[in-house]
């Protein structure tokens, strides 16, 4: 685990200005283990998020909840970092700047905030970047293994239509990604064949493509439609790539629900996720209630952070009956 954390940090360091890089390199390994985010805010202290809590970093890489003594991020630091993450080519990342984030090699993401430039009432791009948030992506291979007997229909050799439900930062995207990886490789010990998976990655988080290449291991049978709206993307993938399984992240809009209706009636298995922390919250989500009442999803996987990100609270079937107990 410690090696994974150090590797993740090493992957983002080349994209950070030298002076901040030197501070981050001084961080003790015990901190690196828990590192979730590195935040650069103009003329404000350099911050890191460790286990959901934000701390400031001093020049020696030490953490403190206090602002005094913390390293202050300068205009030069921020400008250099923006150039490094965009390879000095803002024009090549126009869409990413419009979306407010870009993906780094290794699947890590950089969130951007600054002055919005509008054109015809809609966001054209961001200028004068004032905040950067490096979010460290840690793939957890094998995290979906406990789910496999419950979300795979072994008799039909297809996954059930599955909805992964979790509050933010509880590992639903990581879980879905690992599930896709298992399905794309095939699972010999369960005699489950490898299937073709189509991914509609609207938020560029599931496959984390950088210039067309998925930055996470998703297995050999995955086709990714990057930055594409989910509803259009699912229909497009179905026509163009004939997937056996379609995976997409964070459904919620009316168009997504309609597209899922279409998918489940074409013989494709749908794996997706949604933000909610309980059945009550889930049923209160507009548009989703219709899917739940119609028993479209055959499996509901609830996750939480109770024992760390990715804690499986249980798997329920379409009748809302628990098919596995919490770990």
């Amino acid at each position: 685990m410690r090696q994974v954390a150090a590797r993740c940090l090493a992957e983002i360091l080349p994209f950070i200005a030298l002076s901040i890089r030197e501070v981050l390199e001084l961080m003790p390994l015990s901190i690196v283990d828990d590192l979730e985010e590195v935040r650069l805010r103009l003329n404000r202290p350099l911050a890191v998020r460790l286990n959901q809590e934000e701390f400031f970093l001093d020049r020696n890489g030490g953490t403190s909840p206090l602002i005094s003594g913390a390293y202050t991020v300068s205009q030069d630091d921020l400008q250099k970092t923006v150039q490094l993450i965009s390879q000095g080519s803002l024009y090549a990342f126009e869409e990413e700047f419009r979306q407010g984030f870009l993906t780094l090699p290794g699947g890590h993401r950089v969130g951007l905030a600054g002055r919005a430039v509008l054109e015809g009432g809609s966001l054209k791009t961001l200028k004068e970047i004032g905040s950067l948030n490096f979010r460290i992506a840690r793939a957890v291979p094998g995290s979906a293994r406990p789910l496999l007997p419950y979300v795979l229909n072994l008799r039909r050799a297809r996954p059930y239509h599955t909805l992964i439900v979790s509050p933010p930062c509880a590992g639903k995207t990581t879980m879905l990604r690992d599930l896709v990886r298992f399905i794309s490789y095939g699972i010999p010990e369960l005699h489950f064949p490898a299937l073709t998976v189509g991914i509609v990655d609207e938020r560029c988080e599931l496959a984390s493509c950088r210039q067309g290449v998925p930055q996470h291991d998703l297995g050999p049978r995955v086709d990714v439609l990057d930055h594409c709206p989910k509803a259009e993307g699912m229909v497009m993938l179905l026509r163009s790539m004939a997937p056996q399984v379609i995976a997409t992240d964070e459904i919620g809009r009316a168009g997504d629900v309609t597209a899922i209706w279409e998918m489940v009636h074409t013989g494709v298995s749908v794996l997706t996720t949604v933000h909610a922390s309980s059945w009550i919250e889930l049923k209160e989500r507009p548009h989703l209630r219709e899917l739940i009442d119609s028993k479209v999803f055959q499996r509901y996987v609830f996750l939480s952070r109770r024992k760390g990100p990715g804690t499986i609270e249980g798997v329920w079937d379409e009748q809302h009956q628990l098919v596995t107990i919490a770990n």
Partner: protein, 172 residues
């Protein structure tokens, strides 16, 4: 015999100096032309292919043999190495590194420096405008350089020898 040899040496060396000075005029005009061609290529890479700068700059530097296009490849290398240079810094350093081998003058340096400061820091439209403006300035400099070349080349070519001959005649 020694006198004749010395006279030949003086005339020859001053003559060659004149020829060299004359060739700098045409070299500068050619380099300004090459810079405009390279900028045109960069414009295509940015506007139509959205190629990231390190790759685009290296591609331009590899494409042509002219010494000034090395500025592009050197800037691409310096920035791509992750040594902490911004694009503007990498561009300026590449300019300085290749300056002595070129015939460009201070006015050209100022134009290219201003171009480097805006390189890569905006969207495609703005980059296109920056390239177009720089090309226009370089074209104006090229026209001036050509006029100056026509006026001065012959003067330097023959002048060197004539000065050499005059010195020899004075000394004899």
């Amino acid at each position: 015999m020694w006198t004749a040899l010395g006279a030949c040496l003086v005339i020859g060396s001053l003559g060659l100096t004149g020829i060299k000075a004359a060739s700098l005029y045409s070299q500068r005009s050619n380099e300004l032309r090459s810079l405009q061609d390279a900028l045109q290529m960069l414009d295509t890479e940015i506007l139509y292919a959205a190629t990231p700068l390190p790759e685009a700059l290296k591609k331009i530097g590899q494409g042509r043999g002219n010494s000034v296009t090395k500025i592009f490849s050197k800037a691409g290398e310096l920035f791509g190495e992750g040594q902490g240079f911004t694009v503007a810094e990498a561009w300026e350093k590449a300019l300085q590194d290749n300056w002595n081998s070129s015939a460009l003058i201070q006015d050209d340096y100022a134009i290219l420096c201003a171009f480097g400061k805006l390189l890569g820091v905006s969207d495609r439209e703005e980059q296109h405008k920056n390239i177009a403006l720089t090309s226009m300035h370089l074209r104006q400099e090229e026209e001036k350089a050509r006029r100056s070349q026509e006026k001065n080349t012959r003067l330097w070519q023959y002048g060197g020898f004539l000065v050499g001959i005059s010195i020899v005649l004075l000394l004899l």
